[in-house]
Amino acid sequence: MNKKLLSIVYLLAGFAVLFLGWELASIWSKRELPSPFKTMAIFFNMWSNPFYDAGPNDKGIGLQLLASLKRVFIGFGLGTLIAIPFGFLIGSNKIIMNILNPVIQILRPVSPLAWFPLGLALMKVSDKATIFVIVITSLWPTLINTAFGVSSVPQDHKNVGKAFGFSHWKYITKILLPASLPLVITGLRLSIGVAWLVIVAAEMLSGGVGIGFFVWDSWNALSLEKVMSAILIIGLVGLVLDKLFSAIQKRFTYAI
């Protein structure tokens, strides 16, 4: 109980520091940067009716957020479907690892903005191009962590499998999977973070409904209050996604 109370105090203190710094920055910029109070007024106003729908170019913030989350989960899901099998393949075979490692290292750090034109050329439709960008930028952490997890299964575990004459299937389900799972999930946690990070940039380029285009459109309307509110929302949603995956991670972290 006491601990919980303390964590709330810490949370409030954190926000106080944030708002103080923000207010100072706002004063320093001669109010070019909107003050936290003005922003919060807009923020709560946006949330007073989050699901209104006035046609394709004017939707409530809740609908925009859902559209973005949908893209993120589709992109992340597809990325995971690619990353985990490839990770297993790369992690379990030294030759494949040596062949693919340089390619992965080259593709991994490429910015989402650079992928977008390629995605559009491939997919023809901007919404699919956005998802392509999420897939291709978010799969790397899962892929690398899976490969690392698989390649670092202790020799003792493998020996046990051999000694008991495990079938391939049994080896995979009883030794390989459980031993590499914590790292795979660490990879997934990093990947969902990247996917959420990328959505804003990708939607700025692609247009359409979503929190990223909302930021762009608000900037076009020179409403920095809305841009700041969107930044807060993006941050909060990112936090929730991370908490979700950290909960999963806790479940699967055990001493090997």
Partner: protein, 420 residues
């Protein structure tokens, strides 16, 4: 007991997989539904997506929608706000948008490879408006030159450029704003190659001008009005001071759509022409400004849009107001605005050559214009509406700022004369 432990352990991952798969299947399912609806509605009730950029001159598309004119012609048009001109280009080429509010120069710039993959075709169905753009200069020019004081430009630019490399901005390489900017420089004796000219989105122009990183830009309204309102710059010349009643935005359309759905395109053009006539009755413009100012369209204060839409520019600095009596932003221009002249296309191509945007001139200027401009279709539409069509498709015209005559039938002669 172990089983329960296991499931609870797996619970969060099941949640995530569940959410992902829900979205995944709804996503995979969605492409099927539009095609199903096309089957149900063979009679042009299919949604036609038209793109626009939030600028005052998207008004005729917006009003055609708001006044129910698209519906009147049996079209189900959805307007879609786009992020950038490059975005508009890509979506028209892919067919995601059937058409869009687009810079006159853009189809030519894309086709010649300046602003896109060479050979990509975007068709020009009609011109949407004349006039209503401007060149904004930052406040440091205030004391050196006045509004429309073209003679003082060269000295001012040379002087400031010596202190610090001047930076100008426009909206799309080879687009209208790019060419107005370069033409204005050449006409005032400034070599466009001595200053920086960048393509950036309008809010970045304003943000950069605020912190003194940007010295001038050419863009559509309301962005020049915004600079005055924010007190960071003034409207040096309106685009109509450069070329009175110049072509500005066009209705650009997807090539397949223009041939396969020609009837729909004709209906669309009729609706837009009717909206243009409505917009050219000045008393209607107050209402238009209010509608345009909504979040879903331009998303800017109505008063900023309205003043310049009515032809009254608050110039900024201490220059007061400037009224444009007969050359404010026009959408119909008593029948002179909308016809897509091939001569205009050839003029843009020749400017690309003049300013070095195109290294090798097109073999046949007229051929490019013939390919991109749908002049015959416009005549057909006007004929059906019993509206006059101006007979000046390939006639010479004069550009206001330097009084230079352009003859589309003699481009090489023009280029030899124009200052390089």
């Amino acid at each position: 007991m172990r089983f329960i432990q296991n499931t609870s352990r797996y619970f969060p991952i099941i949640v995530v997989l569940g959410i992902s798969s829900c979205f995944f299947f709804s996503y995979c399912g969605s492409p099927a539904s539009p095609s199903a609806s096309t089957v149900n509605s063979v009679h042009s009730n299919e949604v036609i997506k038209l793109g626009f950029i939030p600028l005052t001159d998207c008004a005729s598309l917006v009003m055609a929608k708001e006044l129910g004119l698209f519906e009147k012609y049996g079209l189900n048009v959805e307007l879609s706000k786009e992020a950038s001109w490059a975005n508009v280009r890509d979506k028209i080429l892919s067919g995601e948008l059937k058409g869009a509010h687009c810079l006159f120069g853009m189809p030519f710039s894309v086709y010649t490879g300046i602003g896109g993959k060479a050979g990509s075709v975007m068709k020009v169905a009609m011109i949407l408006n004349n006039n209503g753009q401007a060149i904004t200069l930052s406040n440091k020019f205030c004391d050196l030159i006045g509004n429309n004081d073209v003679a003082a430009i060269k000295t001012a630019v040379v002087k400031l450029n010596a202190q610090k490399q001047l930076q100008f901005a426009m909206t799309f390489p080879g687009g209208t704003h790019d060419i107005w900017l370069r033409y204005w420089m050449a006409a005032t004796g400034v070599d466009p190659k001595t200053v920086g000219i960048k393509t950036i989105p309008p809010p970045q122009m304003v943000a950069n001008m605020k912190v003194d990183n940007m010295d001038g830009y050419c863009v559509g309204e309301p962005w020049n009005g915004v600079a005055v309102k924010e007190g960071i710059g003034f409207t040096h010349v309106a685009s109509q001071d450069i070329w009175k009643n110049h072509p500005e935005k066009v209705l650009a359309v997807n090539e397949d759509f223009s041939s396969v759905k020609k009837d729909d395109l004709k209906k669309m053009m009729k609706a837009i022409i009717e909206a243009s006539i409505w917009l050219d009755s000045l008393p209607n413009r107050k209402k238009a400004a209010e509608i345009l100012s909504q979040t879903k369209y331009v998303n800017a204060p109505a008063e900023v849009i309205q003043a310049r839409l009515m032809g009254t520019n608050n110039v900024g600095c201490s220059f007061g107001e400037k009224k444009y009596a007969d050359d404010y932003m026009k959408f119909y221009g008593e029948g002179n605005t909308n016809a897509p002249r091939k001569s205009y296309g050839i003029w843009f191509l020749s400017q690309y050559v003049r300013f070095g945007l195109l290294a090798t001139p097109p073999g046949d200027y007229k051929e490019v214009a013939d390919k991109l401009i749908m002049g015959d279709l416009f005549k057909e539409v006007s004929g059906e509406m019993k509206l006059p069509v101006p007979d000046d498709d390939m006639k010479p015209f004069t550009v206001t700022i330097d009084k230079r005559i352009f003859d589309p039938n003699n481009v090489s002669g023009y280029l030899a004369m124009a200052k390089k």
